[in-house]
């Protein structure tokens, strides 16, 4: 994948972090504005973390109506790789591109700390660089990070291997320790932890880089 679109919503605040992580992984990143209606011929799309529209009402509830989301929907439908990190994950759920919802943390407080996660599915465009079962240490930083879905949906996610990332030390009461999931095609992925803040040694952990190198490694236009 050569060209990666990083979507900026009003209130996004991790767009630069994701941008630089993509570039460090050897791909080209460029920004797409929430009012844009096309994705500039991107090979992949990233929805960064932050507080789009202040997270007012529900995290991601308002952002999902941004004009650019129509393009993201279409891109995803054609099997284009989309990664939502933190607020990006919340937006993907609100937009119905991923099942379930992210609710207020069980501890009722914003939670900012490193967590350890296990990579459960390496068959996605964002996790192919990892060994199955690899343990990755990354920060979480969110107030609404508790994944929830009805039992049927959960069973389906498990059965179809769509639980991509699982907490070893669940920080927020997410059901079945789920930290990240994928859509049916395995091309749209949402995760709560921040690989964009754990991709080089100065930051105390570098294992997060895999989410970006996986993508960079995939051949351009592969889809």
């Amino acid at each position: 994948m050569r060209r990666v679109a990083v979507v900026r919503f009003p209130g996004s605040n991790c767009e630069q972090d994701v941008f630089h992580a993509v570039e460090r992984a050897g791909a080209d990143a460029f920004y797409v504005w929430h009012r844009d209606t096309t994705l500039g011929g991107a090979d992949a799309v990233m929805l960064p973390g932050g507080f789009s529209y202040g997270d007012y009402l529900r995290a991601g509830a308002i952002a999902r109506f941004s004009p650019v989301m129509t393009a993201v929907q279409a891109f995803a439908r054609e099997g284009g790789p989309v990664l939502g990190i933190c607020n990006g994950f919340q937006i993907l759920c609100e937009a119905g591109l991923l099942p379930g919802a992210l609710l207020r943390n069980a501890g009722l407080a914003f939670t900012s700390r490193p967590v350890r996660c296990r990579v459960e599915q390496t068959g996605t465009p964002f996790t192919s660089a990892y060994e199955p079962g690899a343990i990755v240490r990354m920060p979480v930083a969110n107030g609404e990070g508790r994944y929830a879905a009805d039992p049927a949906t959960l069973d389906r996610l498990e059965a179809e291997g769509r639980v991509v990332l699982r907490y070893l030390d669940n920080p927020n009461g997410s059901v079945r320790d789920i930290a990240g999931i994928a859509n049916e095609g395995g091309t749209v992925v949402g995760i709560m932890p921040h690989p964009d803040r754990a991709d080089h040694s100065l930051l105390g952990a570098a294992e997060g880089a895999g989410f970006f190198t996986s993508l960079a490694a995939a051949p351009a236009g592969a889809r």
Partner: protein
């Protein structure tokens, strides 16, 4: 005319509601006995321009389905004043 509409958005029963539990616990600690099944959601008040109360309710329902409530996790109730 403009109708005052009250929307209540409540976490679906069966779903864990940590905030409700916390409130229930805190009320107990404050000595309020016999309080149970506390659930905490959102109260949304709107002024809605409509031909009549029925139309105002209709509009509010549409708003809930589109935006105000999350169909996956929340239920809502609508009250129209006057």
């Amino acid at each position: 005319m403009t109708y005052r509409v009250h929307v209540r958005v409540i976490p679906r029963t069966g779903l864990l509601d940590p905030q409700g539990q916390a409130v229930e616990h805190a009320l107990g600690a404050l000595g309020f006995a016999g309080v149970r099944e506390v659930r905490v959601g959102k109260a949304i008040e709107l002024g809605v321009e409509a031909a009549g109360p029925a139309q105002a309710r209709e509009a509010a329902r549409a708003m809930c389905d589109r935006l105000l409530a999350n169909p996956v996790t929340e239920d809502y109730e609508i009250e129209v004043e006057g």
